[in-house]
């Protein structure tokens, strides 16, 4: 019988254990999405996840709670509040007596903006441990956030008594003073508030966020000048105390992996100073970290510190020679400086990512700069194939074609570009010019007229468009296009705004087309005199040919050679 009872006992224990395993077996704790984390962080979190969710032979719920708690802490450290909530709830369910899990749940709730939940959790701890100073301080601040003034006051006051009686975490006194100051200000007791704020600053001089609050109370006391002075010292560091639990959470996410993650996030968010500090910290510990170095290079590039950017990129390439992004960024950086090495880097960027239209575009621009026109055109063509909506690539393709004198192709490209983006005002001039140079001024006239009506004549582009339009209206062999009166009107405006050899010449052509040959000749004579005096004699033969035409009452019939 005794043996039989023992057997039953063993069976019961086994059954209980099975039930316990079933309830904590991880079924309710979904695996985290860790795509954005680098492998080492992923490994760290996944190991903790496995430790928490795997079946264990321990029947001790306290022991079972611990891996969930650690997992929750780690989630918190890596800013995964929802995952943290689930893990910590499991830890607290298994070990409800452990205030640490409750405290962490409250922090997770604060991180997710669930302040009312956090308040309940803090109170749950204080119910059992009324003198827990970190909990009192966080709870009081949370009450302030919730507008629960009486609760905040009673907790700050209670915390104040505790630090008188006992040794408190560093910074506690400053946090309490700051809280009491805010409470006094809310009650319109601004003199008292000013006193609290000044004491806060004495206790924790680096807490420069207090100056804003000080300024508010000084202003309310009728001293706007003192308030303005306080505002000049304002910063974003609020008073803080040493929180051992939070410190242990932060330690979980310390180290280069966490810094890299945070640094790249800060860079994404445009917070360059924070990103800079974090990525430097990574590099101090891992001098060859290609990602951190690439990030630092980008920061320097954004700040216009091109030498430092170049150094960081080159160092990054030493660790990862095939990084498309670094090759492209460094290539663009060097191309802007006119450095010959840019071409090689951009070629390597294209090799590293053959499907990148940005890499092709930048390589093509570098080739264009070197007047390697045909290879440039091929690269631009590939860029437009890779991204048919890349207007910059299409524009560059057209320019490379026009530069080779292949105006028909350039016209097609510019027309495609303007179909894609009719607001691209500079393309109208380029199209009109290509059409004119291709001997199709009959098509160029309407294009430029439309651009003139849409965009006017403002700016250098506008003037160039007007100049070309006036010249076409004055000289195009197609009689239907020519309009002497309008050409004169445009050319006169243009010459007044921007007198030059070419605008003066256009004006002469327009006057001749309007039948005002004497004025055209006179205008051209003045130009010839000015050009002769300036020593730019190369233009003189052409000008004299045009003068001869006007003197014999004949207009010019070609936009470019009289």
């Amino acid at each position: 019988m005794a043996g039989g009872r023992r057997v039953v006992g063993v069976v019961l224990i086994t059954l209980c254990q099975s039930l316990t395993f079933a309830s904590i077996g991880g079924a309710d704790l979904p695996p985290p999405r860790l795509d954005r984390f680098e492998p080492s962080v992923r490994d760290q979190i996944e190991a903790l996840y496995r430790a928490a969710t795997q079946e264990t032979e321990s029947a001790d719920p306290v022991a079972q709670a611990r891996p969930y708690g650690f997992l929750g802490e780690t989630y918190l450290a890596f800013e995964l509040p929802e995952e943290a909530r689930l893990a910590l709830e499991e830890a607290a369910r298994l070990d409800p007596q452990e205030p640490r899990w409750t405290y962490l749940r409250a922090l997770a709730a604060l991180g997710a903006g669930r302040r009312a939940d956090a308040a309940e959790l803090f109170d749950e701890i204080l119910h059992r441990r009324a003198d827990d100073l970190p909990t009192l301080l966080r709870s009081a601040a949370n009450h302030l956030d919730l507008g629960q003034i009486d609760e905040a006051r009673s907790k700050y006051e209670r915390a104040g008594k505790l630090i008188e009686e006992d040794s408190a975490p560093p910074g506690s006194a400053a946090v309490i003073r700051f809280g009491l100051g805010q409470l006094a200000a809310l009650a319109e007791r601004h003199e008292e508030a000013v006193g609290h704020y000044r004491q806060t600053i004495e206790l924790q001089p680096e807490a420069n966020a207090v100056y804003y609050h000080l300024a508010r109370s000084l202003h309310r006391l009728g001293d706007p000048e003192a308030a303005r002075e306080a505002l000049t010292r304002r910063g974003d560091r609020a008073p803080s105390f040493h929180d051992p639990v939070l410190a242990s959470v932060q330690r979980r996410a310390q180290g280069p992996q966490a810094d890299l993650l945070r640094g790249l996030k800060a860079l994404d968010a445009g917070r360059l100073d924070i990103a800079d500090a974090l990525l430097h910290r990574v590099v101090e510990q891992r001098p060859d970290d290609a990602e951190a170095l690439a990030g630092l290079g980008r920061i320097h590039q954004i700040r216009g510190e091109s030498d430092a950017a170049e150094r960081a990129y080159r160092k990054s390439l030493e660790s990862d020679a095939g990084s498309y992004r670094v090759l492209l960024n460094l290539g663009v950086l060097l191309a802007e400086r006119g450095d010959a090495e840019a071409l090689d880097l951009l070629r390597r960027a294209v090799t590293a990512d053959p499907l990148s239209s940005a890499a092709h575009l930048n390589l093509g621009l570098e080739l264009l700069r070197r007047t390697e026109l045909e290879p440039a055109e091929q690269v631009f063509r590939r860029a437009t194939e890779l991204n048919p909506e890349d207007a910059d690539a299409l524009d560059a393709l057209a320019r490379s074609q026009a530069a080779q004198g292949r105006f028909t192709s350039a016209i097609t490209s510019y027309q495609r570009l303007l179909d894609m983006d009719p607001q691209r005002s500079e393309a109208y001039f380029a199209l009109g010019l290509s059409q004119t140079l291709a001997g199709r001024c009959g098509e160029a006239g309407p294009v430029l007229s439309r651009a003139f009506e849409t965009f006017g004549s403002e700016g250098p582009e506008g003037l160039a468009r007007v100049g070309l339009l006036a010249r076409i209206l004055a000289t195009c062999p197609d009689a239907e296009i020519r309009d002497g009166a309008r050409a004169v009107e445009l050319a006169q405006t243009l010459f007044r705004r921007s007198p030059s050899l070419e605008t003066g010449r256009t004006l002469s052509m327009a006057l001749a087309e309007a039948g005002r040959f004497d004025e055209a000749a006179e205008q051209l004579r003045r130009l010839i005199t000015a050009v002769s005096r300036s020593g730019a004699t190369a233009a003189l033969p052409g000008l004299r040919r045009e003068l001869a035409l006007y003197e014999s009452h004949q207009p010019v019939r070609s936009p470019w050679d009289g």
Binding site: R33, L34, D35, R36, F37, E79, L80, E82, A112, G113, R114, R115, A116, L144, D145, L146, G147, Q182, A209, Y212, H213, A215, R216, H219, R220, P224, A227, R228, L231, R234, D236, A238, D268, A269, G270, R271, N387, E389, D390, A391, D392, L417, M420, D421, P422, Q423, R424, G456
Partner: protein
């Protein structure tokens, strides 16, 4: 000296007031408005796609009822915008078979002139004001791309007057969202402030990710901020005075703006100059003090209206200025991103504001949502101001993304009712729809005396929320409301003038405005709710209304305005 004008003296019997349940019903489809703002999003996560959806309620055809202007988006390409035409819905009344009057909105883009011009901007917001003083409200449409001024020809048609008024500049073709018409130099002509957001170009995007690592829209700090524009109306055109006025000195990321005279207090007419409050995304907000010499200085920080009570700048979106606490001055309320609470700055006088977000109850309910459009409105006509919030996230909501929502930014809108001195969130009022809301414009579309709302959404139909609270009333012939439209001598809405309704306890003030909210323009008429305990004393006072025109014009008082109808009050003189 007040000139007293005697109109109809209405004696109104008092009936006991019983609280009525608030109820909104979406009538967009019933009334013929089938508009869907198309963001053009296709997985490239281009920043402008997550903004937009401007709405204006404006009587374009001058027939006395409100028409609806809706800004449209399009598709963004590296080369620019494949824009779509904005739409204008004219309100037409008709008699149903059973003899009742009903309404229908008809899209008149083709006949109104909107279709004459090629669409070239990706629509953001709308401002309404009579720029040429001809008595017809004109529209300024902000875009990602060139903005456009539509001049109202007075016959139900609009014409593009952007170039004619000198507004066709590169600065006005950036990414602009809010715009406010206000007469800052008191010359009788409406000037124009335009808030600019980010220095952003399609094709130069930064790739950002959500918390879960998926591609997402970036936060605003990724791109440089732009300074705003101030246009001085010189009669027949505008001059850019942003630099000389001091406005250009401070770049921000403006998403909201309101103009009002900060110096106005109860019983005090202020300095007669409109100041300007600007809500910036993730930056300190501006409070431009009008110095009266054509220049402005930002006093927001000293005034306590730049950052929240903690001393932190927040991601401000929409902004509202109304006298929420009935003490005679305008207070400020602005909406924020998720995890930050919305903020109420109570005007304490003397250029001092206090953050009362917590005490008022307006802050905490907003912590889980991202607010954009927002308006104070007396939804139940009980005499105090309730608050509506149009919500929609700007960063993917993880729970929705995990559930497979292809546009995981949807959030329900929110209504907060004023009860005593605080606000309470109310459910089950017809705001259950969850979408990505942006603009919220206020106006009495069906002329029944209670405020209705039009809410623009991204990639979802516009919502026309008819307020059914009054129709559920069983108060018999009790007076419910009083409506006032304030016009200048030349027939323009006198924006910025203040309308005070006398009560036994003092005067309830409302500002004539079309500005505020986010990317929206409101009905300029002022509504007073007459239900509730306050109504007794109003009835005793005989519906006396005092008008304080902008720029310290002569105040006027009218007595005996009829309840349950709108009165048009025309002030002497132009401007």
């Amino acid at each position: 000296m007040h000139r007293t004008a005697w109109l109809l003296l209405a004696f109104v019997p008092w009936a006991s007031y019983a609280e009525q349940p608030v109820r909104f019903v979406d009538r967009a489809a019933d009334w013929g408005v089938e508009f869907l703002y198309e963001s053009g999003r296709d997985g490239r996560f281009l920043e402008p796609e997550i903004f937009g959806s401007g709405v204006a309620l404006v009587d374009v055809d001058g027939d006395g009822d409100l028409d609806i202007f809706l800004a449209q988006g399009g598709r963004l390409t590296p080369a620019g915008v494949e824009a779509q035409r904005d739409e204008l819905y004219r309100q037409d009344l008709f008699v149903t078979a059973d003899g009742k009057v009903d309404r229908r909105f008809v899209e008149i883009g083709e006949i109104s002139g909107l279709a004459k011009e090629p669409a070239d901007g990706y629509g953001m917001g709308v401002a309404v004001g009579d720029v040429d003083g001809d008595g017809y409200p004109d529209l300024y449409v902000t875009n990602f791309g060139p903005d456009r001024l539509w001049r109202n020809r007075g016959d139900g048609t609009l014409e593009d007057a952007t170039a004619e008024f000198g507004l066709q500049t590169a600065a006005a073709a950036a990414w602009n969202v809010p715009a406010v018409f206000f007469d800052y130099d008191a010359d009788g002509r409406l000037d124009l402030w335009v808030g600019r957001y980010l220095d952003y170009r399609v094709g130069a995007d930064v790739e950002c990710t959500s918390r879960a690592g998926a591609r997402d829209y970036c936060g605003p700090l990724v791109y440089p901020a732009l300074s705003d524009l101030l246009w001085h109306n010189v009669g027949g055109g505008f001059e850019d005075v942003s630099a000389s006025a001091g406005i250009a000195a401070q770049p921000g990321r403006a998403l909201g703006g309101v103009a009002f005279d900060v110096d106005v207090q109860a019983g005090d007419e202020g300095d007669g100059r409109f100041d300007l409050y600007v809500a910036n995304d993730l930056g300190e907000n501006f409070l431009w003090r009008n110095r009266g010499d054509g220049t402005f200085v930002d006093e927001a920080l000293l005034a306590g209206a730049a950052i929240n009570w903690r001393g932190e700048a927040e991601g401000s979106m929409g902004v509202e200025a109304q006298d929420y606490d009935g003490d005679g001055d305008d207070d400020l309320f602005m909406t924020h991103t998720t995890l930050a609470t919305n903020t109420l700055f109570e005007n304490r006088g003397g250029w001092l504001f206090d953050d009362r977000s917590r005490e008022s109850g307006l802050g905490p309910p907003s912590v889980g949502t991202t607010g954009f459009g927002t308006v104070f409105l007396d939804v139940d006509l009980d005499g105090d101001l309730d608050l509506f919030l149009a919500n929609g996230a700007v960063r993917a909501i993880e729970t929705l993304a995990k559930a497979g929502d292809e546009f995981p930014y949807r959030e329900p809108d929110l209504l907060l009712l004023r009860e005593g001195s605080t606000y309470r969130e109310v459910d089950d009022v017809g705001l259950e729809r969850s979408d990505v809301a942006r603009a919220a414009a206020l106006g009495d579309l069906d002329e029944d005396g209670d405020p209705d709302l039009v809410v623009g959404h991204l990639d979802a139909p516009v919502e026309i929320l008819e307020n059914r609270t009054l129709s559920g009333s069983s108060g018999g012939d009790q007076p419910s409301w009083l409506g006032v439209r304030v016009l200048s001598g030349d027939g323009s809405d006198l924006l910025g003038s203040r309308v005070g309704l006398r009560t036994g306890q003092g005067i309830v003030w409302r500002r004539v405005r079309t500005d505020g909210s986010y990317a929206a323009a409101h009905d300029p008429r002022v509504l007073f709710g007459l239900r509730g305990s306050e109504a007794r004393s109003r009835a005793v006072a005989g519906n006396t209304v005092e008008i304080r025109p902008a720029a310290n014009g002569r105040p006027l008082r009218w007595r005996g305005l009829p309840s349950d109808s709108y009165s048009v009050l025309r002030m002497p003189g132009g401007g």
